[in-house]
Point group: C2
Chain length 333, copies 2
């Protein structure tokens, strides 16, 4: 059962989380290769009591590798994933490079685990905002198909990598100490501020992050017509994303029915204490595997009982990236 | 023309902003009385080159006062506004105490200035989240009536007062210096976190802040049936609120038409640079009078062309509170 694995992009924020998740879940591996770009090759990494030297990610990195976990950016995935597949590895890729490729399954294990079997060497991990949305809405969709989604996100700095997390910390100090704020990882000040996700804006005025939520959800749900509008916003939070989700369902459904469905669904913890005014918060979701789901209520703007509002927080690095990829790898074992 | 004015709650975050706005706009006053509760009475305040002593807010405070600007909390408004009216003053009240009273006009000068004339001594200033939403959507509604609104807010600490702003600063330092975080003004950690607005949750699962957005918008628009669902979230930003607004209109309308309408509307600055990826940010809105409006796009989840998405940032203390109240006072002069 134990597999020879490789982690490409191991020194990044998601790469580091890959290692934590592999250790936490006791993933059965016989060997593990730590791979990264030139900047990080030669560094050492402690993992499960052993010291590893980071090797340069190259086309020759994948001999005898069974499963390669990639989180080294889209360009490196495009360059090196085919070499990994040619060497006999199955790639679980966290970048956007292959997500919409018809030959590449896009998988959230709580949603469409069966799609893993269709792979031709590469399985794609969805975008973090998509994962955090689909885990709580899929169980509802199975019972009462979703017709339309209006979603607004509150996305943590971690989604832009370890440098953006550090930039949030550095800028916060700069603001508190009344120094000029320096911007490198992110185009706008993130400390005590927020801004529209800075991916490119397409012809319809939606940014790439928003269109990922649209296209990836449709692909995983096998619902090419599912109606979705998204507004994606970066907020000064370190590592968990939150989302305000408004659902239009096919049939009327009460909040109690939704709560009942979600209480039995995998990967979800209901945090919905109206009396105590305690609901999902990114601080509580950070470092946790479960999506926190709350503010479950009937949409009062609809008189037909077919609207449900939710608020969700989920760890971007964990379920939004590393955990989901390792869960996919577990499906392969 | 010059009026004798009083500012009740002058030492609070909004009270201080009242003074700035009165000075900035050269509001014509003959006398100004600084009023606050026992905790602040006796303090001195510099205003337009003169030193004022803060007097205790009481039922006897309003002799010879023409206009009283109140921002001392709902309980004090309920206690002292009737005395001010009895003494002959017109009260512009920033609290929620009288907003839904049928005898009290609720006014945003860009939306329903004519309602001011209906007052019986008190005019209410809407909730900040409501003001920031209605300024950009009213000009659209006038041309193409809005049928339904789905709104998610990103609300600054200032909405919970000066103490909450200080708490965001103090907690941010505590987190950066790895000290335990202290909570007093807000029930949950706000630094590097966010949470559902902590007003009481009603029977339908909506918090008071959300229901204010529903009821106040309906009242000002004179549309008792307008369908609105809101999710209100407090974010670690100091003083400007942002809102992701999804509109269902009566008739199809293009983003260009919306942009054209908003470019001529008062109190709005369009910030919608798709190529430069520059959109409304609370940092840019802070201290400004205009609502910043951007991310104007057709809602791709609707095939009938009747959906529009917007993202708005507006200063909570200024247009969200003090500026709007002073604009109401200007309508009275």
């Amino acid at each position: 059962m134990a597999k020879s694995i490789a982690v490409a992009g191991v020194t990044g924020a998601v790469g580091q989380e890959f290692l934590k998740v592999l250790a936490d879940r006791n993933f059965p591996f016989s060997k593990i290769k730590m791979l990264a770009s030139e900047r990080s090759a030669g560094k050492t990494i402690e993992f499960k009591g052993k010291t590893y030297t980071v090797e340069l990610l190259s086309e020759d990195s994948f001999e005898d590798v069974d499963i390669a976990l990639f989180s080294a950016g889209g360009a490196r995935s495009k360059q090196f994933a085919p070499a990994a597949v040619a060497a006999g590895a199955v790639v679980v890729d966290n970048s956007s490079a292959f997500r919409m490729d018809p030959d590449t399954p896009l998988v959230v294990p709580e949603v469409n685990p069966e799609d893993v079997t269709q792979h031709k060497g590469i399985i794609a991990n969805p975008n973090c905002s998509t994962i955090i949305m689909v885990v709580p809405i899929w169980p509802i969709h199975k019972v009462n198909p979703i017709k339309r989604i209006v979603v607004s996100t509150y996305q943590a700095a971690s989604g832009a990598g370890a440098k953006a997390m550090q930039e949030l910390i550095d800028q916060s100090r700069d603001v508190l100490d009344e120094r000029e704020v320096r911007k490198e990882a992110l185009p706008h000040q993130i400390a005590f501020n927020l801004f529209s996700h800075n991916s490119d804006i397409g012809p319809e005025g939606y940014c790439e992050e928003e269109m990922k939520m649209v296209h990836e959800t449709r692909k995983m749900f096998h619902c090419p017509q599912l109606a979705i509008t998204a507004t994606t916003i970066r907020v000064p939070v370190l590592r968990a994303h939150s989302e305000a989700i408004n659902l239009e369902l096919t049939n009327p459904m009460s909040p109690d029915e939704v709560r009942e469905i979600l209480s039995k669904a995998p990967g979800i913890k209901i945090v919905d204490d109206r009396q105590g005014n305690y609901f999902p918060m990114p601080l509580d979701a950070s470092g946790k595997d479960d999506m926190l789901v709350g503010r479950i209520r009937q949409d009062i703007s609809r008189s037909d009982g077919r609207g449900i509002d939710l608020f969700v927080s989920g760890d971007q690095l964990r379920k939004g990236a590393a955990l989901n990829a390792v869960q996919i790898a577990e499906l392969l074992v």
